[in-house]
Symmetry: C2
């Protein structure tokens, strides 16, 4: 347990964005330490996860004036709940704040230190992003050896895992990413067979044809927009498109439509939108398997940190614009395991 | 066996259409009787099926100058193949002609007179349209009791069966059709719970909201375009959209795109394009079950006939424009069972 300071830096969601979100949707405030009720758990935030899906919540579920919320890792400071005691490491939905009160400790899960991996992995490769990649690729995409798998946002938190899982299944794996450095990372570090720089390609159609000469059997969809249209034209018959995200449209105020929908019929494609909430029951059996893949080096993972909860707004806006490599996290407080 | 005449009226495909197909893509010719080779089967055409998918073949697979081809029912006139003898009733891909030569009898199947139903049913409710409806609804759509199922082209050859199968599964079934007479047919004859006249509705969104107050769980997609966009907005979470056809786009020269694709992610929808060719292995087990549903009256079926092979071009163009009710067939020659 660390010494408790007397102020609490927090990031509030203050303005629902229209179009591209910027930092004016957030306010950094310094408030007194929160006071937990008798059955509550007071936590000290260590890591917070910066995720694309938060943009959707800013359009709907989040209420203006309340603290931003995402998954994170924390240390229990004090607990009125028998399940937790001071010093326990937990993960779950946490406020973007140095200290937070979790009512009755609801929604907290233990960080399994026995896995022998960084505790931040609880909110990325061993947490929801990892499970999302696995459900999308192994459950819905079902790549077969020698098939071609294409992954957009291949340098991202989910896409980087999804592509490596496809490679482990024996598929040829091609990614797309938005800078030369990311392309190198995807090929050299993550072991993809090829990667397109979608920002540099004069034609996505031509780039896909060159990188996927045998067509595409599985498209792990993270972006939507022109990339989706180009991929539909390149899909093979009976291909599968698990739809994990459509980030290119998250900040859009109009919907230009997706051309090439007829390929879904003509090529007998299966397009499946999915949410990890429908698959939480898989978590317990899945996590130890994923941990083994990471420990053995079969799956590699890259984390990028911004320091301080107050760096959250700029990290989030930059992540949506493609500035992040791998998983973007806020390092809010000291990690007692490092 | 009927007397053999000396001329053979045929419909040739002569001009690949651009945009809306019209009768100038066809030519009616009168030619001498064909001469079968020693191993061939000479057939006399009785019924020919007029189907939307033929528009796609006119854009690609069909070659100009050759006879139009669709599924049909015929009587064997002479046979050099041991499997067939004169007088046998067969179905399969046949030319749009009074008499045709089937090389080595390949692709012919027996009409099962033992089913106790009209022989024309071999190319509609007991044939590919029926199997298509069953695969789309029962295999891919999987309606549960109390779910809402929406079927476009509900008065059509496939949609009319698909909706009745959903009703038999206990779902609430709503259709769409393009005239007051069709709407009455769908509700009064086919037993749908409700039906929208999509041509008369000032707003598809409002019409769907009124007809499907609990949302839509399964959309049996035949049309695409504005109807698909309206349905995407009305789908329930975890809904299924088997894509059987996209007829509204078959004659289009541009692709305006499908708006609302993000609903596939947001509502975790599964969209599955399918072709009956991937499911032919189901035919043998399925046909007797379907025949029983038809004989018992559980599934009702409507056929509309145009007389003479030369009526094919106008029947086909009219069918694509929505003029047909139920299954449109050409009655080319005498039916020996009637």
């Amino acid at each position: 347990m660390r010494a408790v300071t007397t102020t609490n830096t927090r990031v509030l969601f203050v303005k629902r964005p229209v179009g591209w979100v910027d930092e004016s949707s957030f306010a950094v405030v310094h408030e007194p330490m929160p006071e937990p009720g008798p059955a509550d758990v007071l936590v000290r935030t260590i890591y917070l996860s910066v995720d694309p899906y938060l943009r959707g919540r800013m359009a709907g579920a989040f209420r203006e004036g309340e603290v931003m919320v995402s998954r994170g890792v924390a240390e229990v400071v004090s607990s009125g709940h028998e399940r937790w005691k001071p010093g326990d490491l937990v993960w779950g939905f946490l406020g973007w704040e140095q200290y937070g009160v979790v009512r009755r400790g609801e929604g907290l899960y233990p960080v399994d230190a026995g896995l022998g991996l960084p505790i931040s992995y609880s909110v990325d490769v061993l947490g929801m992003p990892g499970l999302t990649a696995w459900v999308g690729m192994d459950v819905l995409g079902r790549p077969a050896p020698a098939e071609t798998v294409f992954v957009s946002s291949a340098a991202g938190a989910v896409g980087s895992i999804a592509g490596q899982l496809a490679r482990l299944a024996g598929a040829r794996v091609v990614g797309s990413a938005g800078s030369p450095a990311k392309v190198r990372h995807v090929v050299d570090e993550l072991g993809f067979d090829d990667c397109i720089d979608y920002r540099a390609a004069p034609s996505l159609d031509a780039a896909l044809e060159a990188a996927c000469p045998a067509g595409i059997d599985v498209y792990f969809e993270n972006v939507g927009g022109p990339m989706l249209e180009a991929v539909l034209g390149r899909m093979n018959p009976l291909g599968r498109i698990p739809v994990c995200g459509l980030i290119s449209g998250y900040n859009a105020t109009d919907d230009p439509g997706v051309r090439g929908f007829a390929h879904i019929l003509g090529k007998r494609l299966t397009v499946t939108g999915f949410s990890i909430y429908d698959h939480m029951w898989r978590f317990e059996a899945w996590q130890p398997k994923m941990a083994e893949l990471v420990r053995s080096g079969a799956v590699r993972y890259h984390e990028q940190f911004s320091d301080g909860v107050e760096s959250g707004p700029s990290a989030f806006v930059g992540m949506l614009k493609g500035d992040s490599m791998g998983k973007h996290l806020l390092r809010v407080g000291d990690d007692p395991t490092r």
